[in-house]
């Protein structure tokens, strides 16, 4: 490849970005770690990270994990059948339908959550309709259920897309071969379709779980201000309590969760690739 006369010019050309990445990606992360591991006097300490074990903080973390897992599961259950339906359709129609499912993502994320506030309120749209029909009203605003609903609504497209992509890439001949060899539709699904779609499932899970775990806007809007997630706790440390050290320490805890997720993902990805 002769695009560059020598290596020097290539490095010269990439140096602006390398500098940019060092200043705006690497250094800021090091600062989070530095603040997280020091106290206000600059002395090294693990107490910021250990704070996560205190009851209030631990509760917020546990709640975040539970809600994120629940919404990831709901997203998966909703998205997988959809992916199968979409990938079995004719090409022209399914690209249109896939676009339809992604379109809401182009609306501002906060506006989408805001509309659920309007819909779910005690005297909101859904309850007005229910009352009109003389049906019992639902009161889930400011409860964990509302937060899960908000997460599912906002992140569902992140699950649909990778699952649909991996399902539509499966060669029809493989499925036909399984059927020819006597597998019934359940066997074909369990032993052919499902294993081949594992990479899509895994990336869908990551793309839903991480934002759900770390959100603070959805819980503020749909959970009232009473249900705190770990994202809310960190946000408060930075914007209201100005305890950057504690906030950074808790961020390190979040990053550990993200790392664990990455490790799990790479393990499953390898298995999915083998089968």
């Amino acid at each position: 490849m002769k695009l560059f006369k020598n290596k020097k010019s290539a490095y010269l050309m990439s140096s602006p970005y390398i500098a940019w990445a060092l200043i705006f990606i690497v250094v800021p992360l090091c600062m989070v770690i530095y603040y997280g591991l020091t106290d206000s006097h600059g002395a090294m300490t693990f107490s910021n990270i250990a704070t996560i074990a205190k009851p209030g903080y631990l509760k917020a973390l546990r709640r975040s994990v539970v809600l994120a897992l629940a919404s990831t599961l709901v997203c998966f259950i909703l998205a997988y059948p959809l992916g199968m339906i979409l990938s079995s359709m004719k090409l022209k129609r399914n690209t249109f339908l896939v676009t339809l499912f992604i379109l809401p993502m182009w609306m501002n994320f906060l506006l989408r959550t805001l509309t659920w506030m309007t819909l779910l309120e005690g005297k909101g749209v859904i309850n007005t309709v229910l009352e009109f029909l003389h049906l019992p009203t639902i009161n889930i605003i400011n409860t964990p259920s509302a937060i899960i609903l908000g997460m599912v609504y906002n992140f569902l497209p992140f699950m649909i897309l990778p699952i649909y992509n991996s399902l539509s890439r499966i060669d029809d001949n493989v499925i036909n071969a399984a059927r020819d060899l006597g597998a019934n539709s359940l066997q074909t699904f369990l032993r052919i379709t499902l294993p081949l779609s594992v990479p899509g499932i895994i990336s869908g899970i990551t793309m839903v779980f991480i934002p759900a775990l770390t959100t603070f806007a959805i819980s503020t809007m749909l959970g009232g201000s009473k249900i705190l997630l770990i994202g809310n706790v960190i946000e408060q440390e930075f914007t209201q309590l100005y305890d950057w050290h504690l906030g950074s320490g808790l961020s390190i805890v979040l990053m550990i969760f993200i790392l664990i997720n990455m490790v799990v993902e790479s393990i499953f990805d390898k298995q999915g690739g083998l089968s």
């Binding site: 602006p16 989408r112 506030m117 819909l119 775990l213 770390t214 950074s248 979040l254």
Partner: protein, 259 residues
Amino acid sequence: MMKKVFERVYLALLLIFMYAPIVTLIVLSFNSSKSRAKWGGFTLNWYVNLMSDEAVASALVNTLTIAVLATVFSTIIGTFTCIAMIGISKKMRSVIMGITNIPMINADIVTGISLMLLFRFLHLSSGFSTILLAHITFNIPFVMLSVMPRIKNMNFYVYEAALDLGASPAYAFSKTVLPDLVPGIVSGALMAFTMSLDDFIITYFTKGSGFETLSTLIYSEVKKGIKPEIYALSAIIFVVVLVLLFIVNRAPASKTNKK
């Protein structure tokens, strides 16, 4: 067939789930009663008020300016870097791509906080410039990840042939390499623009006080109670996006028809 019916119903239910809130929002933007649950009659008041609402107008301008500038800068930097990657050793390339992946994998809240710490450390006054720097930073990975696959699969013999036939390197580059990259660059730029428009968390931590984008404005209004003007604005945004998507989808179709 039972299965077909079930499939249709499932699709319809999920589409209702996705679009019910948006339809509600558009309907409420014409509702003359300020209460969100009661229908007080049709009105265009909120749309009229929107025109004279300076807070919303400036937030809209800020959002669009930042999105456009961040897209332009990140597309240029990202594309240049991808081209430079061709001439770089494999090891160095994987290090650079690894660092580039960090903002994509990391939680937005951590990215936002880390940039806030950096800007405070550098004593940059928060506002337009800090948000722009942050947006360029999280946009570059999207551009690079959509341009890189094109670079990897590229055939450079055409470029070398052009050189052999007497083309200057710049001319050969613009005639052989660049056209291959354009689809990747365009989709990367589109991604960057979308991400920038939609971002709330990173903007929230890097904005400082007194400077608002649409997202941060909406978030601060949630606590005070939403103005119906915001419904009107979001209805407009949705229709604009719909029209843009329609045009983008139609454009390549009409081109192929002509051929």
